[in-house]
Symmetry: C2
Subunit: 275 residues, 2 copies
């Protein structure tokens, strides 16, 4: 669907809990504030069939964008492009533009740092070997180019897994595409904090405020434990500036705060209340 | 497959990047060290159809376990059990054991903290309304019971999204099931750190060491940027204690260190080298 996005994160290190999936959080947040709806995040291993299945399943759901991270490097287990090749049924081939990008990187490293072995070894050529009909995207921070593909109404962009590289390419190349797709709608949010009232007791209040403010989504997040209730209430909406999103959020938050106070709960704004 | 697990995390807050998916990392790590293979992590929104689809897709891949987190609370957008009901085609019904667990929780809260409204309001009864033929699991920390279901060869356990509750129920109820399923195989790992050698240059070394040590999986993780190479090399295997996993890791790490040193790289063990 227009404005929809899926994220696929590739890497055994995520499935063994070695690292937190900070890439998914960073991208989700960035895309959301650009007005895009992130529908799903999928984490799979470094196996070609897993990557290929995850891509095919995402494509079948017809999001406008599928962004992948990880698996573009020079080692044997960097298999994202093999997965893409299999999913899209397009042969892997050495791409001349990608090869130029990789060569220029190594040449620049050697010039500046005088490290030996400048030749384009097979692991280096591997980073320029991409599915036919796809486009390499320059990596301003690292070596492996990102890769952009199109299939049906879906644009796939495969980004590296190293956070600094992923973030740089996202901001340079992906963000402008997302901005264009969301046609000036942005994400707005507001939080308030409640003490001394159960989540189960504010449930009907949340229902009522959402009914009275149909553009606003409200979600309560327990902080601490239910027997000593402390809640964060998160208000959000997607809107154009002309729709006065801040005023709408303010109105909904005020109504909820009023109803909570009537039930004996304490309301805090701006900062999270101390326990 | 026996010993395989999938994780499904439910919550809009994960798809808008509001929070990091620490639950997925915590569970993946725990399950991995218990000898289980986490095959996939899927994050979906609070919509019933999204939860139901993610569950059905996971079940079709026939893992031994599907563990979900989030969406068990008292509010309108806690829809995990509606999703499970739809995926398994089993009606939601008030479960007497679950209702007793919820009632006892609120009674204990009121006794200790003298908070008003002890009655079982609809949002509270909702937490005891679970798909027919499923089993409620006590929540030692919070209010909402977890829920266990079986379908084919797959056990589904739905845990709360609040980390302290999820962790307590996981350790009390899920971990023993995983331990039994992995039949005394555990996960072992070792790390060494390299400086002054490109990831692309160690690729053939990694290939060779993996060939010579077929039980060991080796993955290189770039730290810093490719032009000033600093790498973490992660060695892992699943094995029973009797297979001497530590010795095997040691042997592989020593061989890799030797080959890297021959190429002029610097090797650090135990702690990450300073930049």
């Amino acid at each position: 669907m227009t404005g929809d996005m899926e994220i696929i994160c590739i890497g055994n290190e995520l499935l063994i809990g070695k690292i937190a999936n900070t890439n998914a959080q960073w991208m989700s947040k960035r895309a959301t504030f650009l007005g895009i709806t992130v529908r799903r995040i999928t984490v799979v291993s470094d196996e070609t069939e897993e990557i290929s299945s995850a891509l095919l399943e995402a494509i079948e759901r017809k999001p406008q964008f599928v962004i992948t991270t990880g698996g573009l490097g020079p080692t044997f287990d960097d298999k994202t492009l093999q997965g893409m090749s299999s999913a899209l049924d397009r042969k892997l081939e050495v791409n001349e533009n990608a090869l130029r990008m990789v060569r220029e990187k190594y040449e620049s490293y050697f010039e500046r740092d005088r490290i030996k072995e400048s030749e384009l070894t097979p692991p280096r050529v591997k980073m320029a070997t991409i599915p036919e009909g796809t486009i390499p995207i320059p990596n301003p921070v690292g070596t492996a180019p990102a890769v952009q593909a199109e299939t049906g109404a879906t644009v796939i962009v495969s980004l590296p897994g190293v956070p600094s590289e992923m973030e740089a390419i996202f901001d340079q190349t992906v963000a402008p595409m997302l901005r264009k797709a969301s046609s000036n709608v942005s994400f707005y949010e507001k939080r308030i904090y409640l003490d001394g009232i159960f989540e189960s007791s504010i449930a009907p209040i949340v229902d009522q405020v959402m009914q009275d403010n149909p553009s606003i989504y409200i979600k309560s997040h327990p902080r601490g434990i239910e027997k000593k209730p402390h809640l964060e209430i998160h208000f959000s909406l997607k809107a154009a500036t002309s729709e006065k999103p801040e005023e709408k959020l303010e109105k909904a938050a005020n109504q909820l705060a009023r109803l909570v106070a009537q039930k004996g709960g304490r309301v805090f704004t701006e900062t999270e209340a101390a326990d």
